[in-house]
């Protein structure tokens, strides 16, 4: 009986030890988690960027971010104005047409800026990884609603 207890206890102890050590080793080596506070850390992990490449990407992000915030604000205002006009009118009006055109112009500007930024970031990466980055990000330019819905759905 004593031998059985000792062997089972040893099995549980060593099994748990193996679990924690292996988990720690895996997280430190091949399963390194991206930094939750750094939105660009995904790029570093996914596209295997060197320190220099990552620094360049971070600089591009820093330059782009203020403009991104302005664009975000413009899109919000344009959408809100359009929504209010649609709800305030019972039929198509010249004001709605103008607001639609303005919204389209804002969206085009946003797409151009974002695509420009994607190209710049891809050029900071090794060529093959840059191409892969563009393949992923082009969907964001062409099908932003779809991508956003995928992000909103909890996995």
């Amino acid at each position: 009986m004593k031998r059985l207890v000792v062997i089972l206890a040893l099995a549980v102890l060593l099994g748990s030890g193996a679990y924690f050590v292996s988990y720690g080793v895996a997280r430190c080596t091949f399963c390194r988690m991206p930094d939750a506070n750094d939105s660009s850390s995904w790029l570093r992990q996914e596209f295997h960027l060197s320190d220099a490449q990552y620094a360049q990407v971070k600089k591009l992000e820093a330059d782009y971010h203020p403009h991104c915030l302005v664009m975000c604000d413009q899109i919000k205002q344009s959408h809100l104005a359009l929504k209010n006009l649609i709800l305030a009118n019972g039929a198509m009006t010249p004001e709605i047409e103008t607001a639609l055109q303005k919204d389209g112009a804002v969206q085009q500007e946003w797409r151009e800026d974002m695509l420009r930024h994607f190209y710049e970031v891809s050029q900071a990466m090794p060529p093959a990884e840059g191409k892969r980055y563009l393949q992923i990000m082009q969907a964001q330019t062409l099908e932003p609603e779809k991508m956003s819905n995928e992000m909103a759905v909890p996995h």
């Binding site: 991206p34 939750a36 782009y64 991104c68 969206q107 994607f118």
Partner: protein
């Protein structure tokens, strides 16, 4: 049944001596197997087999080694699963940080 017929049959059976070549220790082997089968049936639920296993060093080592392998495998699987989950969340954070439209959609449709 006819009792006279039975008596004759019994007498005949007693006289009958089959001439078959049985393997050596056939009878004892049969009894041994019967005993083993009965033992296995009765011991399984009393976990005696577990006691017997732990008395054998090789099997005891196999139990511990299996536990270690299971722990390692489970950790690798869990680490990989968490990694993919984290990477998906990290990708979403990145896209939200560079795409004002995605940001607008998510904030206007909570």
């Amino acid at each position: 049944m006819n009792p006279e017929h039975d008596q004759r049959l019994n007498a005949l059976l007693r006289e009958w001596q089959p001439q078959a070549d049985l393997p050596p220790r056939f009878e004892s082997e049969v009894w041994h197997r019967i005993a083993l089968a009965q033992e296995r049936r009765s011991d399984f639920w009393s976990l005696d087999w577990l006691f017997r296993i732990t008395c054998q060093p090789r099997l005891a080592f196999a139990i511990v080694a299996t536990a270690v392998l299971l722990g390692t495998g489970l950790a690798a699987w869990q680490a990989q699963r968490n990694y993919h989950h984290e990477m998906a969340a990290s990708k979403s954070r990145y896209i939200l940080s560079v795409d004002p439209f995605a940001n607008t959609l998510l904030t206007s449709n909570p």
